[in-house]
Structure formats: structure tokens, C-alpha cells
């Protein structure tokens, strides 16, 4: 078989095997481990020994989501830079000018987010 196809086959096999390995290990550990009798507070979540008050799924500050949005933008732009970097050696100064423009736009975006206070952890 062609080697690139083999490589992708291996990637697929790794996903399945990894998942199966987790199931197997947890199953074996369940076979080996003792089952102790249930007492009322054995299954309470461990919050330093005090009884949990209210629901565990509490609200979160909106700051996390601002960072998440920024991350999506910047991560994708970074991925765009990779094909450019691979082709970098083959093309002249033109490729550099092009990317400086791209990075300048990226930097302007970051500067704007910074100025608007999106990067302040509150």
C-alpha cells in the first residue's frame, strides 16, 4: 500500500486502540478493586471535607469567553501562517512582504483587543 495512506491508516488505528485501551484498563481495575459497602457520604464530591453548598456548575466570569473568542481568531491565523512558512524558502522577497502585511493586520487586531481591555483579567 502507498506509504501516505498507511500513515493515515495508522492514525485511525491509534484513535481506536487508544480508546479501547482506556476501556480495558478501567475494566481490569474494576475487576481487581474491592467494592466497599455504601455509606451515605462516600460518594460526596471532595470539597475539602465540607458539605457542598448549591449546585456545582456555577456561573463563570465572562472574561473566559472573551479569551476563548480571541484564541479562535489567533489560532486560525497562526495555522494560515504554516503553509506560508513551508513555502518560504522557494519564493523571493515578495513572499516576505505579503506576510508582513498579514502579520501587521494580525498585530493591529491584537492591539485593538488590548486597547479595548479584552486582555485584562478581571
Amino acid at each position: 500500500m502507498e506509504s501516505a495512506a498507511m500513515d493515515h491508516l495508522a492514525v485511525g488505528a491509534f484513535v481506536l486502540f487508544g480508546a479501547a485501551f482506556v476501556v480495558l484498563v478501567v475494566w481490569v481495575s474494576n475487576l481487581l478493586s474491592p467494592k466497599s459497602a455504601n455509606s451515605p457520604d462516600r460518594l460526596e464530591p471532595y470539597e475539602c471535607g465540607s458539605e457542598p453548598i448549591g449546585p456545582s456548575w456555577v456561573q463563570f466570569r465572562v472574561g473566559y469567553y472573551v479569551y476563548a473568542l480571541l484564541f479562535v481568531v489567533f489560532d486560525i491565523e497562526t495555522v494560515f501562517l504554516y503553509p506560508w512558512a513551508v513555502a518560504f524558502g522557494n519564493i523571493g522577497v515578495f513572499i516576505l512582504v505579503e506576510m508582513v502585511v498579514f502579520i501587521a493586520i494580525l498585530a493591529a487586531g491584537l492591539g485593538y483587543a488590548w486597547k479595548e481591555g479584552a486582555l485584562r483579567w478581571r
Binding site: A4, D7, S33, A85, G89, I103
Partner: protein, 345 residues
């Protein structure tokens, strides 16, 4: 060898490598941190405590597997899997030698970063599903900081890709063969232009693997154990195995990108061909040196605050990495060719 058999051999050897690495690294971590703290570390099980981790594996296997009452049962089981599978897959593209690698993916570097970036989702799920406020906080912090540092990490690998002209990890190693002035290795780290980039890579990779100056997600003095607090038995074991394995993969990636992978320029190529185990041995030695360096940092610096951490990532490292990309480009395309008198437009 038939294709199926080849895949099976890869699966078995990599899971074996991952488990041995895990067991050995946990022992090594205890010893390294122990000696940094001027104490001995494990000493009782076996000579110098070398069997301590084996003992711990057996203990983890025979512990009762608890699912807390408030947990989301399905996700609670799924989370260790989402943490473990990507870190297992991250070994796929690592070049242990010219021929000894699971795959030679053309996009090896991107593939490794991509699978490693799935891990925070698993950690977030682990924290969310255990129905524990500390766990949720730990998971959220971990996700926030890992995504903050993924961008500088990706950016800091870019100058290397620019100079090597490929994202195939084997190709990046090949690009570092030979010497400058017949003494200095042609590793990317010997290029002064790459030094700031390397620094960014080191900081970002420490955060990606949750090492102590940046271990906000499981800060034991603040969050009990963060996202892992309610995990027990082998589910806990798998999450921690994957964390150690990620440390190994990050160090291996650093070695591949900056320190010439399995290459040592003073060793002639004919030796590598004569002794097939030489290349993987060199690679493993360099990787473990990198790991010990990470732990040295871990044992030396106090934990930073999360707002400082986010500032460092977004306001310092990302702009610095962008500047380094432009600078590498300008030096490589304009300044060096100007001296040689041959700028290609």
C-alpha cells in the same frame, strides 16, 4: 511485513514506550525534585526506591473506582479517554531515528500540535463532569491558560519551519545535519536568531504540560487537586500518565525543532548506519535532558498568578513571537542575501 502487522507493531511498541516512560518519569521526577529539595525521594521499595512506581501502578489498579454522586456519569468516564487518546497519538509523528518512526506525516509538526490541543478539552470535561466546584475551577483555568499559550507555542515553531522549509519532523531533523565551521552543530539552537524564539517555546511548552510555575489547574494549595480531585483508581492513573507523556512529547518536540533530533554532528553518519540503536538512544538522552531541565525549573520557581500568566501570554509572548517571525524573515530574505549580493525578488 503486511500493512496490518506493521500497524499492530507500531501500536504495541508505542503503548509500551508510553507506559515505560510514564513509570520511569514518575520515579525520575520524585528523585529530581527530592534532590532539588535536599532530601532523598523514594528509598524503600527496591534499591534506591526504583520499584516505588511499580508499586504505585499496582496500587492504582487495585483501588476502588469511585464515581461521585453529583458527577455526570457518561462524561466522567469519557474525560480520561479524551485526555489519554490524544497524548497517545502525539507519539505518532516523533522521529526517533531516520527510519524508526510510527509515521512520516508531511504535516507531522502540525499534527502533534493539533492532537495535543485536544487535551484541554478532556481536562475541562474532567473538571466539569466531576460535579465539584474545585474541579470545575481547575478545568476552566487549565483550558484558559492552555489556549492562551497555544498561540505563542505555534508561533514559536514557525521560524524553524521557515528555515527548514517543511513541517515533517523527520525533514526538520535532516535540515539540521552538518556543522558550521566544522565544529558548531547546524542545530537551529546555534543560530542566534532562534534564541528568543526558543525561549518563547520553552515558556509556552511548560504551560502546555502544566508544570509547576504554571500549574494553576491543579494548584494543590488553592484547588485541592483541581480537575483531578474526584478521580480515583485507573481513571486518575490514565490522566496522570497522559500528563507525563505530554511532558515527554513536548521535550521531544523541542529536541527535534531546536537540538537536531537524533543527530550529533561529531558522530559520522556511517556510525549511525552501523549501529541502528545509536540514533534512538541519542534522541531519548536529549529528550530526558530536556525533561530534567523542565523539572529543574519546576523545583526552583514559585507558582505565578493567573492574571500574570494571561498577561505574559497575550501581551508579551504573542507580540514577541510575531516580531521574531518578521525578523527571521527579514534576516533570511534580505540581510543575508544582501551580504552575499544576491537578493531574489
Amino acid at each position: 511485513m503486511s500493512p496490518t502487522l506493521a500497524v499492530v507493531v507500531k501500536l504495541v511498541s508505542i503503548i509500551a514506550l508510553m507506559l515505560t516512560n510514564g513509570v520511569f518519569m514518575i520515579y525520575l521526577l520524585r528523585k529530581v525534585l527530592g534532590h532539588l529539595h535536599i532530601r532523598l525521594g523514594p528509598m524503600h521499595v527496591g534499591p534506591h526506591g526504583i520499584l516505588q512506581t511499580m508499586n504505585d501502578v499496582i496500587k492504582l489498579l487495585t483501588k476502588e473506582d469511585l464515581t461521585p454522586r453529583l458527577a455526570d456519569k457518561a462524561l466522567f468516564f469519557l474525560a480520561p479517554m479524551i485526555v489519554f487518546v490524544p497524548s497517545f497519538m502525539a507519539y505518532l509523528a516523533l522521529p526517533f531515528s531516520d527510519t524508526l518512526k510510527a509515521t512520516s506525516l508531511e504535516t507531522g509538526l502540525l499534527f502533534t500540535f493539533a492532537v495535543l490541543s485536544v487535551v484541554p478539552i478532556g481536562i475541562l470535561l474532567a473538571g466539569w463532569s466531576s460535579g465539584n466546584k474545585w474541579g470545575l475551577l481547575g478545568g476552566m483555568r487549565s483550558a484558559a491558560m492552555q489556549i492562551a499559550y497555544e498561540v505563542p507555542l505555534l508561533l514559536s515553531a514557525l521560524p524553524v519551519v521557515m528555515l527548514a522549509g517543511t513541517t515533517d519532523l523527520g525533514g526538520i531533523v535532516d535540515a539540521q545535519a552538518g556543522t558550521w565551521l566544522s565544529v558548531i552543530p547546524r542545530w537551529f539552537i546555534t543560530n542566534p536568531l532562534i534564541w528568543p524564539t526558543f525561549l518563547i517555546f520553552v515558556i509556552a511548552s511548560l504551560i502546555e504540560v502544566n508544570q509547576t510555575p504554571f500549574d494553576m489547574s491543579e494548584a494543590e494549595s488553592e484547588l485541592v487537586a483541581g480537575f483531578g480531585a474526584d478521580y480515583s483508581a485507573m481513571k486518575f492513573g490514565l490522566i496522570y500518565l497522559s500528563e507525563f507523556s505530554n511532558t515527554f512529547v513536548m521535550s521531544a518536540l523541542g529536541v527535534t525543532l531546536f537540538f537536531g533530533g537524533w543527530l550529533v554532528p561529531w558522530i559520522p553518519m556511517s556510525w549511525y548506519e552501523a549501529v541502528p540503536v545509536l540514533a534512538p538512544t541519542v534522541f531519548m538522552l536529549k529528550t530526558y535532558l530536556g525533561i530534567v531541565l523542565m523539572w529543574w525549573i519546576r523545583g526552583t520557581y514559585p507558582r505565578v498568578r493567573i492574571d500574570q500568566l494571561m498577561d505574559l501570554g497575550w501581551k508579551r509572548l504573542i507580540p514577541a513571537a510575531l516580531v521574531m517571525i518578521v525578523l527571521t524573515g527579514v534576516v533570511d530574505k534580505l540581510i543575508v542575501p544582501l551580504f552575499n549580493g544576491a537578493v531574489s525578488w
